[in-house]
């Protein structure tokens, strides 16, 4: 068991924790944080598993960098949407959708 593998298992744990938070929590910001936790967990698995196998692996490091940028973009978009949603409706969670309030 290399330290890299330990990272990978930690990442797995983080991923599932994030998933739990994503489903169980209501507040949108918390959901977004949980999502980021999932993302970080995934990156840990990606790097940990690959480096356990290959030693230092610049490919996965680059992938993770790309992944982080994508995650930042997604988080930023989420924040912008949440803020505007809060601004317009005064709510910070997605209550069960009733479907027919929608539309013009």
């Amino acid at each position: 068991m290399t330290p890299h593998l330990l990272y990978a298992f930690t990442g797995l744990l983080l991923f599932v924790t994030g998933l739990f938070g994503m489903i169980a929590l209501d507040h949108l910001l918390r959901k977004l944080l949980a999502l980021n936790l999932m993302g970080s967990g995934t990156f840990l698995v990606l790097v940990g598993l690959a480096q356990h196998r290959n030693g230092v692996d610049p490919v996965v490091q680059a992938l993770v960098l790309t992944g982080i940028v994508v995650a930042i973009a997604a988080t930023a978009l989420g924040l912008v949407l949440i803020r505007r949603y809060y601004h317009l409706s005064g709510r910070s969670s997605l209550e069960p959708d009733t479907n027919d309030e929608a539309g013009p």
Partner: protein, 232 residues
């Protein structure tokens, strides 16, 4: 019903951890196939840079990076589309703090220097456009908190040019290399280093701009539209 929701979710998550852990374990001790880093090492000579991560990011897998910057630009577009118009920057949010002002005078030039170094260093050691862009954006955040007027953040043409500059340069390089060379993003012999540097520098500027505009786009427009078209 509700009472059982959390425990059962926990149970599901636990089961998931077990299954995934098992999978991870079996993978870790039974890998098949060859190792990719060796190929990276072999190809480093013709990559134009010395640092393998940068080589992967901007040469071997540069298409990923191109699309990734596209994703970033999309987030920025969505951000400014929701900002109050015409100015992103709200004077009411400015603070006037003497200490912050002094700090700025010291820090901002230093941070610019750091950002510049990070871009340059990316060729040989950890660093690169994204790190530099982040530092640059932090400078902007600091300036904004310190009450410095930043007119270029108005969502006018200047801001939009800034947002896509890096992406546009990258794309143009890709297109030109495809037309004169062999394939999309295939840098001609000997030009890899300078092209990568060009891309890195412009990406740094754009990444900083994107991050900054997302940070500054605080005030939200109240205007909403009819979701369907405008013909009625």
């Amino acid at each position: 019903m509700r009472r059982w929701a959390t425990p059962s979710l926990l149970a599901v998550c636990f089961a998931l951890v077990c299954v995934l852990g098992l999978g991870l374990w079996s993978i870790a001790f039974d890998p098949v196939g060859k190792s990719l880093p060796e190929r990276v090492r072999d190809a480093m000579g013709s990559s134009g840079v010395d640092h393998p991560v940068t080589a992967v990011l901007l040469n071997f897998r540069s298409y990923d990076t191109l699309l990734e910057i596209g994703v970033l630009v999309i987030a920025a577009i969505a951000g400014i589309s929701m900002a109050r118009l015409p100015s992103l920057e709200d004077p009411a949010f400015r603070t006037h703090d003497a200490l912050l002002g002094a700090l700025q005078r010291w820090f901002v030039p230093l941070m610019w220097l750091v950002a510049g170094y990070l871009v340059w260093a990316g060729a040989k050691q950890p660093g690169g456009a994204f790190q530099a862009g982040a530092v640059l954006a932090a400078t902007g955040v600091l300036m904004r908190l310190g009450g410095m007027p930043m007119d270029f953040l108005q969502p006018g043409r200047l801001l939009r040019v800034g947002l896509v500059l890096g992406f546009a340069v990258f794309l143009l390089v890709a297109f030109v290399t495809a037309l004169v060379g062999d394939a999309f993003l295939a840098y001609p012999e000997g030009m890899a280093k300078s092209l990568i540097l060009l891309i890195e520098v412009s990406l740094t500027l754009s990444i900083a701009m994107v991050l900054l505009s997302l940070f500054v786009a605080a005030p939200v427009t109240d205007a909403t539209g009819n979701q369907e078209g405008g013909h009625r």
